[in-house]
Amino acid sequence: MTRPALGGVGLGSPVTPRRLTTVIQLEQVTKTYPKASRPSLDNVSVSIEKGEFVFFIGPSGSGKSTIIKMLLHEVAPNKGRVLVNSKDVTAMRSWKRPHFRRSIGCVFQDFRLLPNRTAYENVAFALEVIGKTKAVARRVVPEVLELVGLGGKEHRYPHELSGGEQQRVAVARAFVNRPLILLADEPTGNLDPDTSIEIMRLLDRINRTGTTVVMVTHDSNIVNQMRRRVVEIESGRIVRDQARGVYG
């Protein structure tokens, strides 16, 4: 099945973690939403090691987004266990969820920025609401904005930024806490191909810092160029799990 890597946009070879530690593990997870005729996830088992970059692909309604929601403790499985960082998320009490969320960064198709705050304030807000002081924000936020390539645009409002730049702010916000895991739910869904590739470069750079990146996408182009692990889901079942996959 594996085809030779084409090199794509020159993202370099995937980082192979020296020491394998499982950060995400789904054990025979089944989830059926109320009123649904068939399960969204049907006996799915997958494990993801620290530092991996994993694509979840598949048609709409195949259950990929349900996995993201489970990892965020938004949706609980009917059967099976979800382990994040060796902690059983399914058994976690809901009051522990906020603290748990701090170890996971999240990026979405629709950016989810606060329109009345600048790029800097959007990122700083994420720090302040989890109890970090303004002094910490002043030190950390410019650094992370520089990292995502927004140096000099700190004081622009979202409407003054392009789609790609807005997504960079969202990535900065997700990453500012140095999470173990970065979840990206169709992060390039609203972006043109060139901008999408820039965002992918950014996610790749973040992955190289040791952050595990899990990305749900439809974008075959990107998957083919990145040549990373691909988990394909169809009708709630894993139909393919390939180390250096393409969209297929």
Partner: protein
């Protein structure tokens, strides 16, 4: 830093929807005023009961043709009665003197009544004023007794009226409270809606639940406290205008409402106002934020 954030969010929240905030505060204030009035009433009735029952008398009026023997017998019997604490004999002269004192403002009435026409009587103070019935049954057929009058009967009527007013105030307080709480719930819903983006981001990045909820709950608490302050002002105004004003004539009848009585009501009003607003806000948030 976080406290500053929360407090500024509270002020912004109250100001953002200022007409609703005013409606909420006014209904809270009216409801809490009613609650305070009802509480004051309760204390007043209690005070008055203590005061009046202490001085209450049962009067046994004697026949005009009562014989000395009958009078002495009755006197002895009353003095040995365990239900009776104190017995005073009032003869005709003294009854007339009391009558003169009582109706000194009505000379027509005074001139119409002769000293001789007033009956002599025994004035009893009971160990327990509520045992009037026993006294009545025991003495009503005794020779020489004309009539037994219990003042507490009359007082009970007054107290019934006062208790009824108190209950009406309490009912009004509850009805207004329901309206106030619906307004609180609505205000919190609007606030939660207008801050839905911030809330979504806060949940996403893992802000603690109390941090997300605190500004909304405090918004309701501040409204409740402002409402109770306005209620206090209303009670003070009521004391000035009613008790010290138009109802002054009844001062002898009603026990006085003191400033400390009113101030004593404030913690009750503030506590109830703050707590039920907070609880309403919190419950509303459980539905609208699902944190």
């Amino acid at each position: 830093m976080r406290l500053k954030y929360v407090l500024s969010e509270v002020l912004v929240g109250l100001w953002r929807n200022v007409t609703m905030t005013i409606a909420m505060i006014i209904t809270l204030a009216v409801s809490l005023t009613m609650l305070g009035a009802s509480g004051l009433m309760y204390r007043q009735v209690g005070d008055m009961k203590d005061l009046y029952y202490k001085n209450i008398e049962v009067s046994i009026f004697l026949d005009t043709q009562v014989s000395d023997q009958q009078r002495t017998d009755l006197d002895a019997k009353l003095k040995s009665d365990p239900l009776v604490r104190e017995v005073t004999y009032v003869n005709k002269d003294e009854a007339y003197k009391r009558f003169q004192e009582m109706f000194q403002d009505a000379p027509d009435l005074l001139s119409a009544v002769k000293a001789d026409s007033l009956p002599e009587s025994f004035r009893l103070k009971l160990v327990n004023p509520e045992q009037y019935k026993n006294i009545y049954d025991q003495y009503k057929d005794t020779a020489g007794v004309d009539e037994i009058v219990d003042q507490s009967r009359l007082l009970d009527k007054i107290f019934n009226v006062l208790t009824a007013i108190q209950n009406i105030a309490l009912a009004a307080a509850i009805v207004m409270a329901v309206a106030a709480l619906l307004l609180v719930a609505n205000t919190i819903q609007v606030a939660a809606y207008s801050k839905r983006r911030e809330v979504a981001v806060m949940k996403l990045v893992g802000a603690s639940n109390w941090f997300i909820q605190a500004p909304f709950v405090l918004e309701a608490v501040v409204a409740g406290l402002i409402g109770s302050l306005l209620g206090l002002v209303a009670l003070i105004a009521a004391k000035y205008l009613l008790f010290d004003g138009s109802l002054k004539a009844l001062q002898g009848l009603l026990s006085p409402v003191t400033w400390s009585d009113i101030l004593f009501m404030f913690p009750l009003m503030a506590g109830v106002g703050g707590l039920i607003s907070a609880a309403t806000a919190w419950i509303t948030l459980r539905f609208y934020l699902r944190v």
